[in-house]
């Protein structure tokens, strides 16, 4: 009975679903996509991918994850694992289309003026990220959104580690001035482990 099987998956933990998916159970993997699809697409959008492109890359990332599900050992969360895959696929696509070099080069010469914003204003992350150059946005999103280390990001971007660190540092400074102080809201428990 497909419906019953679906509801069983809905109450399963991510790790269990990965186990089912590893045996070729595609509906279990579909449940994982349902849970974490938005998060993966969100990271890609924050890295600078436009809507349709972000969706394409996210789809490719999930398909790759399904192919390589046996490699997922459950050391981190499933969502974090797929986000890393998605970030790398997106970078490869940028490299293939020769957009990456222009993005990173632009950041070095072009330093946009960042107005010292009102720190009390409740600006969300999306808005705050717009103040960053493309390279800063890419580096910050890769390190804080996709969970890559500075070294991993430098390797993926084919940039010196110091350059990535300075992009991240400058990006963080800009974000700090634009984001409202933490209101101490603690995230509510999310379903799954992602």
């Amino acid at each position: 009975m497909p419906g019953a099987r679906h509801s069983r998956f809905a109450s399963s933990h991510d790790v269990e679903l990965c186990g089912f998916a590893a045996t070729g159970e595609r509906r279990a993997f579909g449940e994982l996509v349902r849970r974490h699809g938005s998060a993966v697409r969100g990271v890609l959008r924050r890295m600078g991918a436009q809507g349709a492109e972000a969706d394409d890359v996210a789809q490719d990332a999930f398909l790759t994850a399904f192919e390589r599900i046996a490699e997922f050992r459950g050391e981190g969360t499933f969502a974090a694992w797929v986000k890393k895959i998605a970030a790398r696929i997106y970078l490869r696509r940028l490299q293939r289309d020769r957009r990456l070099s222009s993005m990173t080069a632009e950041a070095i010469e072009d330093e946009p003026e960042v107005p010292r914003g009102d720190a009390d204003a409740n600006i969300d992350l999306e808005e705050a990220l717009k103040a960053l150059s493309e390279a800063e946005r890419l580096c910050v999103s890769m390190c804080f959104g996709a969970g890559l280390s500075h070294t991993e990001a430098a390797e993926a971007l084919n940039l010196p580690l110091g350059t990535v660190k300075s992009h991240v540092k400058r990006g963080l400074e800009k974000l700090r001035t634009r984001l409202a102080p933490d209101d101490g809201v603690v995230l509510e428990g999310r379903r799954g482990n992602g």
């Binding site: 070729g24 595609r26 509906r27 993997f29 579909g30 996509v33 349902r34 699809g37 938005s38 998060a39 697409r41 969100g42 990271v43 924050r46 969706d55 996210a58 789809q59 999930f62 398909l63 399904f66 992350l125 910050v140 999103s141 804080f144 959104g145 963080l172 974000l175 700090r176 984001l179 933490d182 995230l187």
Partner: protein, 125 residues
């Protein structure tokens, strides 16, 4: 310290990705692509199995194996005749080795086996 707190906060903000309105449709698209890939793979494995079976059968035919099996059958017949002199309990050897049916049964089993093995190997790959 404040820097570290800010970095943690930023990680939290990044993790707080809102559920997109078309999350269900997106998941369905991914599932459709998964299923399409799976169907294509099944066809490919099946076709490879058939092709492998045909190639295996033709190789068996070409290699003169049947002649060798028939020779072996003759030897078995000769042996069974000889053994008949010794004991009547060897009647089954004569029954099995008589006629060319055993050759075709063996060939059929070989083809099925080759197809099965090839399918499994491709499946594993």
């Amino acid at each position: 310290m404040a820097e570290l707190e800010f970095e943690r906060r930023l990680e939290r903000l990044f993790a707080e990705s809102p559920e997109l309105a078309d999350a269900g449709a997106f998941a369905e698209r991914v599932e459709r692509r998964l299923n399409a890939g799976w169907t294509a793979r099944r066809w490919l494995i099946g076709a490879a199995g058939v092709v492998g079976g045909v190639i295996g059968a033709s190789q068996l035919m070409m290699s003169g194996l049947f002649q060798r099996v028939e020779t072996a059958g003759d030897s078995a017949r000769f042996l069974s005749t000889s053994l008949n002199h010794l004991s009547t309990t060897t009647d089954w050897i004569t029954a099995v080795s008589s006629g060319g049916a055993v050759v075709w049964v063996a060939a059929g089993l070989a083809v099925i086996m080759m197809g099965f093995v090839l399918t499994r190997v491709i499946g594993e790959i």
